[in-house]
Symmetry: D2
Subunit: 346 residues, 4 copies
Amino acid sequence: MEKIKVAVLGATGSVGQKFIQLLEGHPFFELVELGASERSAGKTYKDAVNWFMETPIPDSVKNLKIKNCRPPFESKIIFSGLDSSVAGEIETEFAHAGYIVVSNSKNHRMDKDVPLIIPEVNPEHLQLIKAQNYNGGAIVTNPNCSTIGMVLALKPLHDRFGISKVNVVTMQALSGAGYPGVSALDLTDNVVPFISGEDEKLEKEPLKILGSFSGDEIKEAEIKISAQTNRVPVIDGHTESVQVELKKKATEKEIIKAWEEFSAEPQELNLPFAPEKPIHYFREEKYPQPRLHRNIDKGMAVSVGRLRPCNIFDYKFTVLSHNTIRGAAGGAILAAELLVKKGFLQ
Amino acid sequence: MEKIKVAVLGATGSVGQKFIQLLEGHPFFELVELGASERSAGKTYKDAVNWFMETPIPDSVKNLKIKNCRPPFESKIIFSGLDSSVAGEIETEFAHAGYIVVSNSKNHRMDKDVPLIIPEVNPEHLQLIKAQNYNGGAIVTNPNCSTIGMVLALKPLHDRFGISKVNVVTMQALSGAGYPGVSALDLTDNVVPFISGEDEKLEKEPLKILGSFSGDEIKEAEIKISAQTNRVPVIDGHTESVQVELKKKATEKEIIKAWEEFSAEPQELNLPFAPEKPIHYFREEKYPQPRLHRNIDKGMAVSVGRLRPCNIFDYKFTVLSHNTIRGAAGGAILAAELLVKKGFLQ
Amino acid sequence: MEKIKVAVLGATGSVGQKFIQLLEGHPFFELVELGASERSAGKTYKDAVNWFMETPIPDSVKNLKIKNCRPPFESKIIFSGLDSSVAGEIETEFAHAGYIVVSNSKNHRMDKDVPLIIPEVNPEHLQLIKAQNYNGGAIVTNPNCSTIGMVLALKPLHDRFGISKVNVVTMQALSGAGYPGVSALDLTDNVVPFISGEDEKLEKEPLKILGSFSGDEIKEAEIKISAQTNRVPVIDGHTESVQVELKKKATEKEIIKAWEEFSAEPQELNLPFAPEKPIHYFREEKYPQPRLHRNIDKGMAVSVGRLRPCNIFDYKFTVLSHNTIRGAAGGAILAAELLVKKGFLQ
Amino acid sequence: MEKIKVAVLGATGSVGQKFIQLLEGHPFFELVELGASERSAGKTYKDAVNWFMETPIPDSVKNLKIKNCRPPFESKIIFSGLDSSVAGEIETEFAHAGYIVVSNSKNHRMDKDVPLIIPEVNPEHLQLIKAQNYNGGAIVTNPNCSTIGMVLALKPLHDRFGISKVNVVTMQALSGAGYPGVSALDLTDNVVPFISGEDEKLEKEPLKILGSFSGDEIKEAEIKISAQTNRVPVIDGHTESVQVELKKKATEKEIIKAWEEFSAEPQELNLPFAPEKPIHYFREEKYPQPRLHRNIDKGMAVSVGRLRPCNIFDYKFTVLSHNTIRGAAGGAILAAELLVKKGFLQ
């Protein structure tokens, strides 16, 4: 198979850098173009970027000349890590021009005809793009980083037992705020109990993702969700204290079984970025922990632990996932792989 | 008024050190005796202790010779910061010998005849000690550090509106685990979603503290509480994401008013360790934060913020309190001041 | 004595906030005016500032209306916490207009006729301002935060034994970079071995401060200094590993004696911000440490420890000082107090 | 080639865990035996260990039964990560019994007939073991973690220009103290300017390692070294501010060339744990940084940066290396690989 040419928009930002790092040597995709703001356009990537990944800039990317974020591009797939202040319009423009945009930005997530995809959870929602009016182009979106880990953990329970209520309190990593993002003076020896707009995303996005797809539209899941989001001094990995009320009673054993047996289309299709096991359940009561477990299965698996009965809901447990890999660039790449394998690119 | 002689048991431990630091220059109490384990007994305090407070060892304490933790002592009040592995028996022995034990240990907290006191919340529970069979001695206990902040914030709401359910997720400070306590390898760039026995304390102790006192026993409050406790990289100050269901509906304004107007017996009696305002409500959406607000009113006030409606409960908000001052040694000293002023020492 | 009216320029920045916090209730000074950039001018202070001190904004300051940084002001003394991009010109303009400018900015520090003052070290350099051509106005500067702690520790050794070489490696606190300053992604689980321009300041400023004053100019001290500066994940308090070569040999005992006996004009004059003992020597081999000792004597004392012989120089030791109090706003206030007490304001 | 059976002593400790993690799938070695203290002996590894590596316990190790640390063992090579309180005797006993002990403990490092090996620096010192009286057994040691990185960076300079003086100040990682090691209360928002015995190791070990080997003994290098060691809040990676005085003057360009061209026997022999380039020089003035660069070349390369002239010595620069990989278990494995390839096992 010939590699598919792809571009990264917002290439100098933190999500953009992660896209570039993860796309190195990808079996399906060849990164051939970068887009960034006026300020960077025209420069080579290595001169424009303040690279802060732990691996060096891939050699094939170092000297790419940065373009303005406007079509035409020679790529077929456009990964967008654009800031939400500009992502909306630019992504629309690329879709109209016939490109497949896979976006990590929030702008189009809740659009009626735009799928909000977690490949293991709602791959069937990809059909939605057929309803988009983009002359062969399309927009597919990635949920918010705090949503993805939680919904992956909820999915097997929702399938087997039905979920009626979800309560969640997050302890989110610094990298979720981009770079430079949070001041070290704000998050050394401290917790910040507020992340702008984050409670809302975590309360709304899961309803769409877990919604049923009738063939032409998504009917939101009927789940009551309440979220409180906090920032803590952790580099990568969002930790979430979750509680659920189930429609059908289940034992702890049945719940753990649901998680451990969970496998979905990306696993069946053997997609390159699909984790072998999407959910790892830890029996040790002090696990999962972000520093120890965020990188499981190259950062694409979700770790769950501490399942126990709850005095108010049915169960409580802890969920951990890597916010910039599974929760952003890696998740978007997996979605693009799914698009390819399911024939959406023809 | 002549100062009352007091002792600190467990004097070399982290709670013991905090007691010693806070008792320096106290207007009611004179610290004259220290008790610690066999290993330290006989040594001067400065030789036995690995002092790690930010202020120096008080001069009057440096050269006190450490005693074994057995009566007789010349003090009237015995502050106990003993480890729970030994606290139970030793405290009982001192009470039997006629001393007033004010303990920060968990051992006697749930004993039927032992008051579990937050001076602003349930001062009337002190009457319970009259039922104790200790020939003039008594045991009074301080709740768990994560309980105290939360219950102080709940009290005015419970009084005005009635509380039926409480959901809480904590982000607790390192100092709550004592010294050396947690390894720096476990809590640098990390969260640990487990504190042994802590969920349980936070679910049970508030029921006793908010319980009604009929004159001879405490009837536990009928509140459903669910707790999930986490350890985060913060030196001092427990942050808690709390949700409440009220019996009587209330507006946000009424709730904030309840907090801001809250004042109780320690304030009326003008006790030395009583904060001027027990509860500070912050209107800035990014507050309260442990590093900025744990020391408000010398660490004895509780900070609350982020009140907002909840999709599942009635309201959600964030509570912050200093776990080793208000939540341990400072809270115990305030309880002792209350005992003195209400005449329990005669 | 009637209080002297003072202003703070750069009032919304991190040094400005520290000035405001420390000036609250000052016995000599009354803070009556604030200056900041165009963007803030015209607003009340509480509306313009992103306050991040641990104590609340003083009530007397909250509603002060921010001015543009141009004379006339009604104050006599102008404390400048301005950014170095604008400080040079503005400070000159205020001096020309007759004000006494006490600046924490680097711009005028190395000007020939501007004293670079550490009140305990070179109070006689204040005479330099008589040579300034400012019609009664003057500029006095505060050294760099990493310079102040080191030079205070060097001064008694230089006086008694003579210093020929100084080698220093710093581990500097986050607050030295202002707010927001350093990204939390750069300084969580990390060290940054570079601070722009800092090695140079630390190598040059001490030569001027320790220089001799002949009556009309300063002759730089003849000391070879080499500095390497690093940023570490500490909120406040610069720690420095220092080595010295002495002209006259001295024993460890004599050196410690020199530190412990050190006292200077600010102590004699009993200035409000003067620490009782400028230098605290710790005999415990694990001290000094920033979290434990930065606040000694309200953050105005320097802590020293770990004196031991060196294979290359004569001695090595560790110095710690609070970079935003002694090393910035507090040091500048002490210098202003000295100006007042020595009659420079008449 | 058939794999050589190896054992790890001190298998439950932090160095032992790192040995086990790194030996998984090793092309030369098969880990077949584990030794630990009485307390663990007899248990399976997974039951005895508090595993805190970021990857899971290798399946082949999970169920190994832990032995007492006494011969006989069936392995040929014994990797020792024993605590220094017991390492001396146990290692001697294994050597006497005919085993090749490769030790990370300090006990035998300075023994006259024991090579202190950094494979790229002094591979010829391995000949020393021929002088050992162990009936075919031998002891080879790994230097201290803070020594290894520095000496690797010094070696090419010493070879080309000669070094007469070295001055070093370290900022060492938490993992260097083992587990649980340092309390989080000591190293959150803090620096500790003392590591027991560390200054001394860093001043003495390099003299032996860089010493010349005459055929029967090592003549120590004549270099004056002065070291000051500090602990900082970093998980892995020791950062060192180094200064050197050279015998033969060299330009910056020549020095960087010496580093970049450096390659040695492990690279020629293509040893599995040999980094491709032992030294990476960074031209960006803010590099190297522990979080970004400790894992370069699987944690076996040393990063150097910030070379610049010095007012006292000739040059100053920053060195960074991974203290538990290159500085402990990985370095010892590389030494064992060298032993194998150079025929010391026949």
